[in-house]
């Protein structure tokens, strides 16, 4: 069976020293407590590799929203915190190659990383949005 990309990347990031150092949580949505930074991880797509006719090698497209959190906003460190978190996530993803939770994972390709504050928060919450392609197959 193909790997669960969201679960594998989520677990990997949650325990990665760079993400732990920022104090960020990682999950599929907005956490109940928004004081600390967080990463919202969503799988956008997961097509099979086009060169083979079995569903084995999958090119997962993931979106990772790196939010600064309320505490950083209050300390006027919002943009810097979102930036640090995004750069930490990028560093972690691009050194992820190996076997994780029964899946062979390649290094992520970062395809975009714009600054898009979430204006649905009041005041708007600083956010960097990473889109990454992560190739995985069962180990």
């Amino acid at each position: 069976m193909i790997p669960d990309a969201e679960a594998i990347v989520g677990r990997y990031l949650r325990t990665h020293p760079l993400i732990v150092a920022v104090g960020a949580s990682v999950g599929p949505g907005i956490p109940d407590r928004t004081a600390a930074p967080w990463v919202k991880l969503v799988q956008l797509n997961g097509p099979s590799d086009r060169d083979v006719d079995v569903d084995h090698i999958v090119r997962f497209m993931l979106q990772l929203d790196c939010y600064c959190g309320r505490a950083a906003q209050a300390a006027a460190r919002d943009q810097a915190t979102a930036s640090l978190l995004a750069r930490s996530v990028r560093e972690a993803l691009t050194s992820m190659a190996g076997v994780h939770d029964g899946a062979a994972v390649g290094n992520a390709q970062i395809v975009s990383d714009p600054r898009v504050p979430d204006t649905r928060f009041e005041p708007a919450m600083e956010r960097r949005i990473i889109t990454a392609i992560v190739v995985m197959h069962p180990a």
């Binding site: 956008l44 797509n45 979106q63 929203d65 395809v111 975009s112 714009p114 979430d118 889109t131």
Partner: protein, 102 residues
């Protein structure tokens, strides 16, 4: 001796064949993006003067595919209140093009 042509990209873009190929690819992306966007209930905030939901136009350096919905950024990226649906990014991948944002 090989002399690299630093104007190659610009010269290629002036070729009618290149422009029509890009336009064809842009229209494919737009068709797929529109399918995804409509499935997510777009337009959320319709732009009154737009010629369609997803439009394709030529620029000096290529082809642009645009979501004209006023809420297009919310649909593409998501927000506190909704998940990202990414019609444009998924459409690029769906038609088999490599996705690299600039």
């Amino acid at each position: 001796m090989f002399v690299p042509n630093r104007n190659l990209d610009a010269e290629l873009m002036r070729q009618p064949g290149m422009r029509s190929a890009l336009l064809r690819a842009g229209r494919e992306v737009a068709r797929e993006a529109e399918r995804i966007a409509r499935a997510e209930g777009e337009p959320w905030m319709e732009r009154a003067d737009a010629e369609g939901l997803i439009v394709v136009d030529e620029t000096d350096d290529g082809v642009r595919v645009t979501n004209t919905d006023h809420g297009g950024h919310l649909v593409e990226w998501g927000s506190k209140n909704n998940p990202p649906h990414a019609p444009l990014r998924r459409a690029v991948q769906a038609v088999g093009l490599p996705f690299q944002e600039h």
